[in-house]
């Protein structure tokens, strides 16, 4: 008798398990609010960019909820921008029945590793700032609102050639940094490329790199990487009398308030680019609302993160509450966001392409021109 009961209990448990696992509408069983997740760094050395993006998402959801019938909730996973951590966290999003979509990831490396996980769960993704070209054209769920490094790289090369004749290219061996450096190199002639080197993320010792730059007699350095290392690198360059006045060119990974803080006056005059638009001029009303809400300046990509989240809110507003229908909406619809119009080509890349040049003047990041 006991045995029979046990067998019955086991089979019941197994049946329930099977039903839950097989049910195609598992996430339709969401009990509370539907959620839009942000993926990026909220702690760690790269957190400044992440917090600025996450705030954009929070504000977009808040604005939407004011008039919405189907309310949304802003949630976040903190990857610390690490490609090693992002897949496990992405799995959590996939398993969350209330998750409808993801704004993110913030950097290319963490996004490359997380996208296959999202794809497995059919979760639509719109990245505000992952610019590696290899991300698009791979997965039907991945989209991004910014132009990729195939646009950014040539612009960086143009700037580098404008400010000097001999260019030394350094990257940090991450998918983003290495990828961007490669495109820059492709846009330089042999005589323009003075030399190359690659460092590792987290390094503090740039003395051998500076020696190489010095020996190459380059007048411009391009750095493909992020601000924590860039701020140490620029300091090392400025401290060496031979490379003191070298022009420093870098992409959107360096463009961050934290770069100014860590590099101090050494950051002055850096040539930087980003597909991101300055919020203050492109969406002044939103800029004011943002400052009121968070009592801080928005960062690069705050506007893009806001708009990516805004795309999701419009999808839900149009009556889509499943991951699949939202993904279809994103693929098919043109949405006018704040200061930019968004639509995606079949590859997942944005159909509007903008690239901006910035510089550092008197301790502030200043927009220079549009390409």
């Amino acid at each position: 008798m006991k045995k029979k009961l046990l067998a019955l209990a086991t089979s019941t448990v197994m049946m329930v398990g099977a039903t839950v696992a097989l049910s195609p509408a598992a996430f339709a069983a969401c009990a509370g609010n539907f959620k839009i997740y942000f993926q990026g760094a909220l702690t760690g050395p790269y957190a400044e960019t992440g917090i600025n993006e996450n705030n954009g998402v929070i504000l977009a959801i808040k604005d939407y909820n004011k008039t919405a019938t189907v309310k949304l909730e802003a949630a976040a996973i903190d990857t610390e921008a690490s490609g090693a951590k992002s897949p496990a966290l992405a799995k959590k999003v996939v398993d969350d029945e209330c998750a409808l979509g993801v704004v993110g990831g913030m950097y290319s490396g963490e996004t490359i590793n997380a996208v296959p996980v999202y794809e497995g769960g059919g979760v639509p993704v719109i990245s505000p700032s992952a610019t590696n070209p290899g991300l698009t054209n791979k997965s039907p769920i991945f989209h991004r609102v910014v132009a990729n490094d195939l646009v950014q790289g040539p612009v960086l090369a143009t700037i580098a050639k404008r400010v000097g004749k001999k260019i030394f290219v350094v990257d940090d061996a991450t998918p983003y940094g290495k990828g961007l450096a490669k495109i820059v190199k492709l846009n330089l002639t042999k005589s323009q490329l003075a030399g190359t080197d690659a460092v590792t993320e987290g390094t503090t010792n740039f003395s051998s790199v500076v020696s190489k730059v010095k020996s190459s007699k380059a007048t411009v350095v391009f750095y493909g990487g992020y601000y924590p290392e860039a701020s140490i690198f620029i300091k090392a360059l400025r401290d060496n009398p031979a490379t003191k006045n070298i022009k420093f060119v870098a992409g959107d990974g360096v463009l961050d308030g934290e770069y100014l803080k860590l590099a101090g006056k050494n950051a002055e005059g850096s040539y930087l680019t980003a597909p991101g638009l300055p919020m203050q001029t492109s969406a002044p009303k939103l800029y004011a609302a943002y400052k009121k809400e968070f009592n801080r300046e928005p960062g690069l990509y705050t506007l893009e993160a806001y708009n990516a989240a805004y795309f999701f809110t419009q999808a839900v507003k149009a009556g889509n509450t499943t991951r699949a229908s939202i993904n279809k909406y994103i693929d098919d619809t043109v949405v006018k966001g704040q200061g930019m119009t968004m639509s995606f080509g079949p590859s997942g890349d944005s159909e509007t392409i903008v690239m901006n040049e910035y510089t550092v003047k008197k301790g502030k990041i200043v927009w220079v021109r549009k390409y």
């Binding site: 051998s208 790199v209 300091k235």
Partner: protein, 316 residues
């Protein structure tokens, strides 16, 4: 491969390699001293170094100069740097003694296997890194400019700056003091006795617990001083800085012959130079590949490290 850099920048690379080697040596000595008395790789030693760098930053915060970007005047610098290096050395020294007491002593008294101590060491290392990661939000911390970095002397391709001279002079003084401590004091005699034969040392009336504590203290103080030089030189730190420096310092200690004080010095300078030369010729990201290939080759030929033989003869 780019050998032209090696020829045109040889003096500069060599000088920088020696400076980096001096910092490695101050940390490597801690690994080697502890290994000498306990036959234990103190994996948390890198975090003792990290605590030193954080203390340096803390002192600048207290002095309200943490955001300074202009170097201090020479007189002020001497006072401030003395304060920083002493505080960092004390903090790291105390941290090392505490670490020994919390993570290793009980295991040693209970005669637990060396493996348990090793795991305890790794655990302590993780604990400290993660603790400081939380405390600092794992952000990079910029250290103020304390000393002018305009070159005071130019030798061929090398710019000799005050901060590099400071590192070399300071480290040399510490090496001399350590040498005297080990060879000419009662404590040094105790350390040498315990590292040769613990049981006999006990029979001869050596207080092993005291010797072990003092060894950790000495190692910690050296790492703390090293961290102050590191901060003056690199001007940045973060929660995992210990790992970056610790791996190199540990490698240097093994390269020179772990347990051997002179070996740690030789290994550190050798490693500093190898790293500079290899990153110049092959590129920075090949640095560690080359370093470890050389380490493996040395250990294949001389399993006890560069100066390992002398050590074994001394022990027989």
């Amino acid at each position: 491969m780019d050998f032209s850099v090696l020829t045109s920048e040889f003096v500069s690379l060599t000088f920088d390699g020696i400076v980096v080697g001096a910092i490695y040596a101050l940390v490597a000595l801690g690994y080697t001293l502890v290994y000498g008395v306990l036959r234990l790789i103190n994996f948390a030693h890198s975090e003792i170094f990290m605590i030193g760098t954080m203390t340096c930053y803390g002192v600048t915060l207290l002095l309200n100069i943490a955001a300074d970007t202009d170097p201090l005047s020479p007189q002020v610098f001497i006072i401030v740097f003395t304060l920083i290096i002493v505080t960092a050395a004390v903090a790291s020294g105390l941290a090392a003694v505490t670490l020994e007491f919390v993570a290793y002593r009980r295991l040693r008294v209970m005669r637990a296997s060396r493996l348990s101590s090793l795991i305890s060491a790794i655990g302590a290392s993780f604990f400290l890194t993660e603790l400081f990661r939380l405390l600092t939000d794992s952000k990079n911390i910029a250290f103020p400019r304390l000393i002018d970095k305009e070159p005071v002397l130019v030798i061929s391709s090398a710019y000799i700056t005050l901060d590099k001279i400071l590192v070399l002079l300071g480290a040399s003084v510490l090496f001399i003091v350590l040498n005297r401590l080990i060879n000419h004091t009662k404590l040094g005699l105790g350390i040498r006795a315990v590292s040769q034969d613990e049981n006999t040392a006990v029979l001869m009336g050596v207080n092993v617990n005291r010797v072990v504590s003092m060894t950790f203290l000495v190692g910690g103080v050296l790492a703390g001083a090293g961290s102050a030089f590191y901060m003056a030189f690199y001007e940045t730190t973060k929660a995992n800085v210990g790992f970056l420096v610790g791996v190199s310092a540990f490698t240097a200690a093994v390269l020179g012959g772990i347990g051997n004080v002179k070996g740690a010095l030789v290994g550190s300078f050798a490693l500093g130079l190898i790293q500079q030369y290899s990153s110049a010729v092959l590129g920075y990201n090949w640095r560690d590949v080359v370093t470890f290939i050389i380490l493996v080759l040395v250990l294949l030929v001389k399993p006890t490290g560069l100066l390992g033989e002398a050590l074994q003869r001394a022990r027989v």
